[in-house]
């Protein structure tokens, strides 16, 4: 992990809601895999105070590309302060031939870097865009990807088959949708696959992250074994069979 300055070399508007920033970064920060991220500081003042979580979607020769909502404004040549790469690479299995990716009310950006590797080794990948996720621009997705769109989780056609056939499943939903969405997905998986083995079904946890380094304890995820571990260092993807979803959901309902 490093703290370095990077320069925004180019800004491309991908859709009304999505833009991509091409960043000139130093080598240590290009050594990253799908699922890792940066915490970026873009202002000289302390407003905003916390860093923004930046998700890389592509690696070029000397640059990396990150995706940001267009409501944040950036400028070409702007110098930003980058902390990272943070988090663990998504645990994509070499043997995973059929990949199921689910974006629930969230941009699927976080999958794109992992998808590059997966498609490069000829895995098949299906991406399900649910709700607002449908607004994500299809032309920004790799063409080898099968894309399915659904207004609601319930109206996702052939949901059972998709879940049953996948070798690995990754789902992303923003808080506070994450816990209920992952719970439903886990229940579905348990129903259609009878048993859900370890390393099959992953949920991505993206709570606000003040430090990104495992120190401030603002991003803890509660596991079945009773441990509470930082999403910033142990995530952002967690094996949903290891997460104490039930207790977390109950607690957050009572909060």
């Amino acid at each position: 992990m490093h703290q370095r300055q990077a320069v925004i070399e180019r800004i491309r508007r991908v859709s009304a809601g999505v833009q991509r920033l091409e960043l000139a970064v130093e080598p240590p920060q290009r050594a990253l895999s799908g699922g890792q991220f940066f915490l970026a500081r873009t202002t000289a003042t302390y407003d905003p105070y916390l860093r923004e979580a930046w998700l890389p979607v592509a690696l070029n020769d000397k640059t990396i590309v990150v995706e940001r909502p267009t409501r944040y404004q950036y400028l070409p040549n702007q110098v930003v302060d980058l902390l990272g790469p943070l988090g663990k690479p998504f645990p994509l299995r070499n043997s995973a031939r059929a990949l199921l990716l689910i974006a629930y009310e969230a941009a699927p950006s976080i999958f794109l870097l992992m998808l590059q590797s997966a498609l490069a080794r000829n895995s098949a990948a299906t991406l399900v865009l649910i709700g607002q996720a449908q607004q994500y621009p299809l032309e920004a997705l790799p063409s080898a990807l099968e894309v399915i769109r659904a207004e609601h989780y319930e109206t996702w056609a052939e949901r059972a088959q998709h879940i049953a056939w996948a070798d690995q499943i990754f789902a992303v939903a923003p808080p506070p949708y994450d816990l209920p969405a992952y719970m439903r997905l886990l229940e579905d998986a348990q129903r259609v696959r009878h048993a859900v083995s370890a390393e099959l079904l992953y949920g991505i946890f993206q709570p606000p992250m003040p430090c990104g380094i495992g120190a401030c304890q603002a991003c803890l995820v509660r596991l079945q074994n009773g441990d509470e571990v930082p999403a910033c260092t142990e995530g952002m993807a967690f094996d949903l069979t290891r997460v104490n979803l039930l207790q977390s959901l109950a607690d957050s309902a009572g909060a």
Partner: protein, 309 residues
Amino acid sequence: MLEITTGKMTLRLSPPVMGASGAFGFAGEYGKLIDLSTLGALVTNPISLRARRAATGARVVPLDSGVLIHTGLPNGGIYKMHRQYAAKWRASPIPVIVHLIGTPEDLAECAAFLDQQAEIAAIELGINDALTAREVRAMVARVRAQTQLPLLAKLPLYQAVNLAAAAADGGANALVIAAPPRGTARDPLSGQLVGGRVYGPWLKPLAVRIVGQLAPRLSIPIIGCGGIHHPDDARDFFEAGARAVQLDSVVWARPEMVIAIAKAFSGGELTRAAGALADEWRPLGEPAERRTTLIPAPPPPHVPSPPEI
């Protein structure tokens, strides 16, 4: 440098710049990013007698130039935490100060235990806002009776002026001024009003004022804390009467600034020996001006160097 001596041992803070409880983790998590050995000491995140769970849906609310956070102060309890971290604390190149929270009984038990652990350099007590001066005196005295380790008491901002003498009378060797106040703000995730502590640079003028009020009245040293984001901020605390400072949330915003602040107060042994003020120490690797000002402002007449034109 600040030395705090009790019967048993001396806590040597050199430079007089520490990582505070809350943002630095339990055992040098930031060592991955910055050279913690440049600091004078590290205070652990809060540790209680029994385990505490994380607040579910831990609340992080962005504010203008600040943030409200409620973590619930999760930790495994003193015995488990000690098993987990003792080796790392022993290996630490700088003194480790354990921040304790809990009832007087809990604190006393924790302190008695820590008193036997050689890797612990000092104890910092988190003083609850709800306590009266009488309760604070009794609580500190009860902990004092259990340990000869140097004892720091961290006082809450609003009540610091009212509680300082009580903490000193109870046997604290130094006071940390101040822990940030609580606030209420709308959580963007849940849409609800939620409570938590509030952090940000605006804490500094509030804490500096209280340090200035208390320093002349107390015989034990004051450690300034709150909103320090630049060597100039630390300098303001020293000028107001603090003998050391703690840094906390700046490490999220600008980790490199932690080192810059530590280095700014690392030199100057010679000057200090000759009786100079802390804020006259030789600045090393000090970054540029704290912030630009509204109207181009030259320094005061006694240091004439007007603005560039």
